[in-house]
Symmetry: C2
Subunit: 287 residues, 2 copies
Amino acid sequence: MNIAYFNGSYLNKEEVHISPDDRGFLFADGIYEVVRWYEGFFYDMDGHIKRLLRSLKEVRIDWPEAESFRQIAAGLIQKNGLSATPSLVYLQVTRGVAKRIHSFPSPAVPPTVYAFAWGFRPPDEFVEKGIGTIMKNETRWSRCDIKSVSLLPNILSFQESIEAGASECIFVRDGLVSECAHSNVFFVINGVIRTHPESHAILSGISRASAIRLAHQNGLPLVEEAVSENELGLADEAFITNTSFEIAPVVSINGKPVGNGKPGNITMRLRKHFKDEIRMIHAKNQE
Amino acid sequence: MNIAYFNGSYLNKEEVHISPDDRGFLFADGIYEVVRWYEGFFYDMDGHIKRLLRSLKEVRIDWPEAESFRQIAAGLIQKNGLSATPSLVYLQVTRGVAKRIHSFPSPAVPPTVYAFAWGFRPPDEFVEKGIGTIMKNETRWSRCDIKSVSLLPNILSFQESIEAGASECIFVRDGLVSECAHSNVFFVINGVIRTHPESHAILSGISRASAIRLAHQNGLPLVEEAVSENELGLADEAFITNTSFEIAPVVSINGKPVGNGKPGNITMRLRKHFKDEIRMIHAKNQE
């Protein structure tokens, strides 16, 4: 059984029919979110809703019920029997179905709203060994802050990393490390954690915000200041953050070790703080 | 009646169901073509097939039957009763249907192939008055040479132009005019027609190639050399080329007139050469 949500209804995923006139299909004219279910709660649903509202505003898609993503996500977990399973919920909102012309449909049409959930095996063992990455010059557009489905550049770069035996692609824009194909990236240089500040060049990741908050809460020095390509040799540690990897050590870039080529201490402390917080929320929920 | 082509079959467009797992919908992981039917022949179908093959190769989508687009397009014209109607045929090929992960499906799945045709009213009267444009810094990715459906940046920029009362958005990349949201752009400076050379920064338009060829054949000086932002004041004429507008004079940029603010002589000569050639092909076909 695989129950999806589509334009107001829950139905078997096989019954979801996207129109070939959907602007999501024709033009990548849509945005998305992926939220993690920790067998009892969604991780920072408020943060996801806030980002969803921002994405919709930036691309000017009108979905007045965006707050209902909370209920949709909960409904999908419940209806798919995933309450006790680590899961992800995906939401996509497009500008809707209309005759193919580049300009926005006029008059406007209702957006297409599609969501589904799936149980997954948290990649902890894999992640904790540390991941390899490749690094290349940015290929994407100038508004990477919008979580759009216009992802072909990300796909091609991510695939390159997989074929190089790595697990992520780090981008460099104008000499500065920005982020990865589907994660944010941090470096530890002289004991200070550094990451690119919020700007049009990066997606403001939910796990990125958590890593920053946890560093501050736990007395680990962190500044939101981009690392230049030239500084990479100085990095003792690196890590990426995203919804499924949480906080994941990076042990190599383009085949060269980062620091001593092993998961770094500061990285693993931060990862432990993240895991501890999850356990704490679980404990609280069970009181 | 509206007959579309979908994965090997002709069927009513309403019966075409795109899977929500289609990578075209989820990731903009696909490419497209639009070819014009001139009531008797497709305009430069060879050029479209060549570009289609190139796009597929660049994004690494395997569609061994790509040459069959000739037959698909002809089938759509015939089945929709469009033989005597100015029409367009749209083709989209995506990497297919697979569980949502960023990397390519492994093992590979068959691509999704979708095409449809529609009659349209050639916008000659509108075009011949000359169109207004806006100009802005490039927002798109670094591989604009690939005709991908990852079009959100184009959509947002084109919509901006419409809302400014204009009909196209011209992009400037690193100080050089590249192309438009869905057309190529040319300028006439000191009697010489200039346009951005083929590169990753522009889509190699079929009508662009025709305009260049027709200029050469008719003794109009043309060089493929980008115009810088600083040179724009020197332009006596400007025009854009694409499949539906063919060759269309540009009379203003950001509200400022180009030259004397009227369609230019060289532009209209080139447009006439294009129209003459269409008539000639018609005549030949009727011999």
